[in-house]
């Protein structure tokens, strides 16, 4: 169900046009991390759409995902924990023609930033949020996050986790986001396609990228190496079409991939242009009514 531009055939050196040559590499991520796959999908999506790099911003919060923007040759901002969407909202308000990508982790977007997440969705402001869901706080060493499954072990849940996880895509959908999709780091091309679609929509789009953290969560829960965790994601995941035939019990440990919402809802900054037009029309009408009024008396005069 792709309405956006087609995903181009794989080009192996596309990153050279999007990574910063002045940046000191290597990156901060552990070998085998899924974040590189998400970065690759983002870069390829931008390339598929042929966007002008000058008009694309990438904004992140704190955590492993927070380090993504520094490597990319875009307008990039690494903000505070949980607040990336709020910073991005301000930028989008004053530069509505820019494509503003927001990259977050599950703790970043849904714990400390949960309020901003649901309100950005409710407002339907034209940002594209890519949420990398690795079910843990990787950078700080594997504490439980808002998406950690029940009964899992975490460094702050040494006796097992007793909270239920947030389903990110379903939450975004319920909160009003225009476009919501979920894929995984195993399904890199599908992830790329969903990001293409998200970036092509005018409203708030959320792409959940299910990933893993083999160095913290995986180790604590004896899930093997990065490749083992990748294999598990592959085996656990099904398409939304397959999911529709399964019972609730059968779905319990499945990762459902697909597009959950793709709706035409008016975008916030476009609506705000209407506010400006209405305010200025009101001023014009008032000036017509009182053409001889002394300058500078009430509102409307100070420029």
């Amino acid at each position: 169900m792709s309405n956006g531009p087609p995903v181009r055939p794989l080009e192996s050196r596309v990153h050279e046009r999007y990574l910063r040559h002045s940046k000191k590499f290597p990156n901060v991520w552990c070998a085998g991390c899924g974040n590189g796959i998400v970065l690759s999908a983002v870069i390829r999506a931008i390339d598929d759409l042929g966007l002008d790099k000058n008009e694309v911003a990438m904004i992140s919060g704190i955590g492993c995902s927070g380090r993504m923007p520094v490597y990319v040759d875009l307008n990039t901002m690494h903000t505070t924990h949980g607040r990336a969407l709020a910073f991005a909202t301000g930028l989008k308000m004053v530069r509505p023609w820019m494509k503003v990508l927001v990259v977050m982790g599950d703790g970043d977007a849904l714990a400390i930033g949960g309020n901003h997440f649901i309100h950005a969705a409710r407002r339907n402001i034209g940002l594209t949020a890519v949420v990398i869901n690795n079910q843990t706080y990787g950078m700080t060493g594997g504490q439980y996050s808002p998406t950690t499954p029940r009964d899992a072990l975490a460094s702050t849940a040494p006796y097992g986790h007793i909270e239920q996880p947030f389903p990110i895509a379903e939450l975004a959908q319920a909160a009003g986001a225009a476009y919501v999709a979920r894929s995984t780091v195993y399904h890199a091309r599908e992830l790329q396609r969903f990001i293409v679609e998200g970036l092509s929509r005018s409203g708030f789009s959320v792409i959940e990228a299910v990933s893993y953290c083999h160095t913290t969560f995986g180790k604590q829960n004896q899930m093997g190496r990065a490749t083992d965790m990748m294999r598990q994601i592959k085996e656990q995941s099904i398409t939304s079409a397959q999911a529709s035939k399964l019972s609730k019990q059968e779905l319990a440990d499945k990762i459902v991939r697909g597009v959950f919402a793709d709706r035409d809802i008016p975008e916030y900054t476009e609506l705000y242009e209407g506010i400006i037009a209405a305010a200025q029309a009101e001023i014009a009408a008032r000036e017509e009514d009182e053409p001889t009024r002394e300058p500078g008396v009430p509102v409307g005069e100070v420029e």
């Binding site: 307008n75 901002m77 690494h78 820019m98 901003h116 500078g296 420029e303």
Partner: protein, 381 residues
């Protein structure tokens, strides 16, 4: 421009528009709400934008985002919201993003007395965010001054690439006075310095030759990185001492070298011959003004030094003004915050504090008592 009756919060909103502010993000809170309400109506009239965010943390974040987009941006709040904003105020200081934060102080801590004035955030405005950082804090004591200092807050913020805090109080914010606003054409409005180099040479955090490198808005072909981490001249994270130290020297240095422009106070003509001076700011300066007038009528040689810049503290002026004196009276609507700074500069034995933190104004009589009977004025009453 003709005179009109105006509220302090309204003067702040109008001052922002006159200064070129075209983006406001905020969250309702007494006694600052009028600023948001007025700007929600006024900004779109001048092509600007207003947004009510989901909380104060989001408000200051959006303001920083707006400023990164090249738009003069502001938020307004009171104590509880100001506390929530602190982390991102530090981000603006670290990333050197100009923005104006208005705090219309109410009595606290916590929910406190929402409708009653206070000057309890003097230290929070200086040290509220974690870590060492430079900051500029301005404090108006009348409706007209609120307009002027709002314009000045934007000017200093843009020129020094720093967050500037306008520290109002519920008395000034809600008070109405007849004011003739300056003609917008005559206003001195400073804009962000443009860069003179092409994108490939641009460094958003270059340490030389100027101590305030130009900040280019996102979306104009200069693709660079902004972070709250310590960073090198390109904005990339660093832990290298040879990159951290020059940054520290520059960001503290830019404010220190600008002191003569940033520091602002008002003194009367009696200051040099006075035996006692009152150092006051904000609404309390109005009581002090009255007290000094009454004391002079009774023959006391007393004078008022009214501070309009609280931070950086006008250390030099306070020091020279108090040199010959035995007594410096510092009335404040708190338990003694700026008094600590005055004591540091002039010596503790010279300072008479007049404090109250119960949501009521310090009265002229309280200050007059301290002028006439030094022992009475000391401490919280």
């Amino acid at each position: 421009m003709t005179a009109r009756l105006m509220q302090g919060n309204e003067a702040c909103a109008e001052g922002a528009i006159a200064a070129g502010c075209r983006f406001f993000a905020g969250y309702p809170i007494t006694p600052a709400t009028e600023i948001a309400e007025i700007l929600a109506r006024r900004l779109p009239q001048v092509g600007g934008k207003f947004i009510q965010m989901e909380d104060e943390i989001a408000s200051i974040a959006a303001v920083i985002g707006g400023s990164v987009g090249g738009c003069k941006s502001m938020t307004a709040t009171s104590g509880p919201g100001f506390s929530l904003m602190q982390e991102n105020i530090g981000y603006a200081a670290m990333a050197e993003i100009p923005c104006v934060i208005v705090d219309v102080q109410r009595a606290g801590p916590s929910t406190g007395l929402p409708t009653q004035p206070s000057q309890g955030d003097v230290m929070q405005s200086r040290w509220g965010t974690h870590g060492d950082h430079p900051i500029i804090v301005l404090c108006p004591s009348s409706v007209r001054e609120t307009f002027e200092l709002t314009v000045r807050a934007f000017n200093l913020s843009e020129r020094y690439r720093t967050p500037v805090i306008l520290l109002m109080d519920a008395m000034i914010g809600h008070m109405r006075e007849g004011v003739a606003l300056p003609d917008p054409q005559q206003l001195d409005v400073w804009d962000r310095a443009p860069t003179e180099v092409p994108p490939e040479w641009y460094k958003a955090y270059v340490n030389e030759p100027q101590d305030v490198p130009p900040l280019v808005p996102f979306g104009e072909g200069y693709r660079y990185h902004i972070t709250g981490l310590f960073h090198d001249e390109l904005g990339y994270p660093t832990q290298r001492l040879d990159e951290i130290d020059p940054w520290l020297s520059r960001v503290f240095g830019k404010i220190e070298r600008g002191l003569s422009e940033i520091v602002d106070y008002e003194e009367d003509e009696h200051l040099d011959r006075a035996e006692v001076i009152v150092i006051a700011y904000g609404a309390t300066a109005r009581s002090a003004q009255r007290a000094v007038k009454m004391a002079r009528e009774q023959g006391s040689r007393v004078s008022l030094l009214k501070l309009r810049t609280l931070w950086p503290f006008p250390e030099e002026r306070v020091e020279t003004a108090a040199e010959r004196l035995h007594r410096v009276i510092v009335p404040e609507m708190n338990r003694g915050q700026l008094a600590l700074e005055v004591e540091r500069v002039v010596g503790k034995h010279k300072v008479v504090r007049v404090n109250r933190a119960d949501g009521e104004m310090v009265t002229p009589d309280q200050i007059l008592d301290a002028v006439e009977q030094p022992s009475v004025g000391r401490g919280y009453r």
